[in-house]
């Protein structure tokens, strides 16, 4: 005998109506869900406001779990560190010596830089971070790369603010709740960061691919990026102040240079939220007559 189908209850009118009603509810609900999905496309602000209310409710769970698990996260790494310890040590000692020399050079350059800037009368404002918070969880099963930050509007966080880790740019805030905020990581497929090569300032766009890497598209056709090139934010277009390190190129692909983000979000403990950078207005055009006299 075939298993009795729960969808065919026999002659009971009541049961038949009940099943019919459940189909009606399901189809109507699916239609409502479709509308919700469409709001995400056509009214992103309203949609993210809805989501941030929900994020507020869930972020304490991850925060608590994170503080409980913080010590276990590094176990694999600490075991792995024992392998080839001797050769690693030798290599690191060599690297340390090299970087010390570079550090001294950099010190000299910084001194010189400051002196030259004083000469020019330029003023450098150090940017004060708005708040410092930890990234507590991420959307591991979705194709979007969001992380939840454990600080929200009550800490002064607002939409669009860049989030910077100790090694470089992490992402920007896309929706804010009262005690939590959602951060769109730079590796998300929908995130585009204006960058420049650190050595010569060649401009490019760093576009996320959704798989933990970025694609670098040069803005001028005559530039070729090499593996190992470091890219920093260019500051054009605002939002990110210039000079935050973003990515290191790893190899050349067909559709652009692949790069890895400098700030590895998987091992990030704390990140700083910075105010939105506003591009300084261009200097007022000088009079043509003056220019001629010069």
């Amino acid at each position: 005998m075939a298993p009795p189908s729960p969808r065919r209850p026999g002659f009971s009118r009541r049961a038949q109506y009940g099943i019919f009603a459940s189909y009606v509810i399901a189809v109507a609900g699916a239609g409502f869900a479709l509308l919700l999905v469409l709001t995400a496309r056509f009214d992103p602000n309203g949609h993210s406001a809805l989501q941030s209310i929900l994020a507020d409710m869930t972020s304490p769970i991850s925060s608590a779990a994170r503080s409980a698990l913080a010590s276990t996260g590094d176990v694999g790494e600490s075991i792995g560190a024992y392998f080839d310890a001797a050769s690693k040590n030798k290599a690191m000692a060599k690297e340390l010596a090299a970087s010390k020399r570079k550090l001294i050079d950099a010190d000299v350059l910084r001194q010189e830089n400051r002196r030259l800037k004083q000469l020019l009368g330029l003023k450098t404002d150090a940017i004060q971070p708005i708040t410092r918070a930890s990234l507590v969880s991420s959307t591991g099963s979705s194709s979007r790369r969001y992380a939840t930050l454990s600080a929200g509007a009550s800490d002064g966080v607002a939409n669009g603010q860049p989030v910077v880790g100790p090694d470089g740019l992490v992402g920007r805030v896309v929706s804010v709740g009262r005690v939590s905020a959602r951060v769109l990581l730079i590796v998300d497929g929908g995130n585009v960061t204006p960058v420049k090569r650190s050595v010569d300032g060649a401009p490019a766009l760093a576009i996320g691919t959704g798989d933990g890497r970025l694609i670098l598209r040069p803005l001028t056709s005559d530039v070729q990026f090499k593996p190992g090139d470091i890219f920093v934010t260019s500051g054009s277009g605002g939002i990110y102040r210039p000079g935050i390190s973003v990515a290191r190129a790893i190899d050349r692909g067909r559709e652009g240079t692949k790069a890895r983000p400098m700030a590895d979000p998987t091992r990030l403990d704390y990140a700083e939220v910075e105010p939105i950078y506003q591009t300084p207005p261009p200097p007022a055009p000088s009079q043509i007559g003056e220019a001629k006299e010069d």
Partner: protein
């Protein structure tokens, strides 16, 4: 009656446990994304959906068709997908499974697995399309590892739900 001496025969299972255990297990599955780990790559299987499908395969008449709506809403809260995407997709999966039930009365586990695997793959891919339509831009290749992991882990979820099925009748 003293503890341990309740009648074991002819006892009535609690109504709350009969409905609550499956619902809670699906909700806990949806909440696995709260694990404190920042992933740069979608690899975590959609546990909520997997557990829901496992229950659906074991106990065919457990859920009314609309049950996918509230459970999908709960999943949307955590998943990072646009709100409504799991509500929509899970409900559609339930409706499709109803059609499958009419076509194939007799199914063995491998067929169930194949159906569930296809459903998960389709839900993930359509979910990607929904996420991309609302501002994302990720290629489908990125999802391949997640789909494979999800399909391979499904039998384990069925095992888990079978255990929970025993539990909910004895609670």
């Amino acid at each position: 009656m003293a503890r341990g001496y309740e009648p074991r025969l002819n006892r009535v299972a609690s109504r709350w446990a009969l409905i609550g255990v499956p619902a809670l297990s699906v909700m806990l599955g949806s909440m696995t994304v709260l694990i404190p780990q920042i992933s740069v790559f979608p690899l975590l299987p959609p546990f909520g959906l997997l557990i829901l499908l496992a229950w659906r395969m074991i106990v065919r008449d457990l859920w009314p068709v609309w049950a996918a709506l509230p459970l999908g809403f709960f999943d949307d809260i955590f998943s990072g997908q646009p709100l409504g995407s799991a509500m929509l997709l899970w409900t559609l999966v339930f409706l499709v499974l109803d059609i499958f039930d009419r076509w194939m009365m007799w199914r063995d586990f491998r067929q169930d697995w194949a159906i569930a695997g296809t459903m998960v793959a389709v839900v993930l891919l359509v979910g990607l399309a929904i996420a991309d339509s609302s501002g994302g831009n990720t290629s489908a290749v990125v999802l391949l590892p997640q789909i494979i992991v999800s399909i391979l882990i499904f039998p384990l979820m069925v095992r888990l739900c079978a255990r929970l099925d025993v539990l909910r009748w004895t609670l």
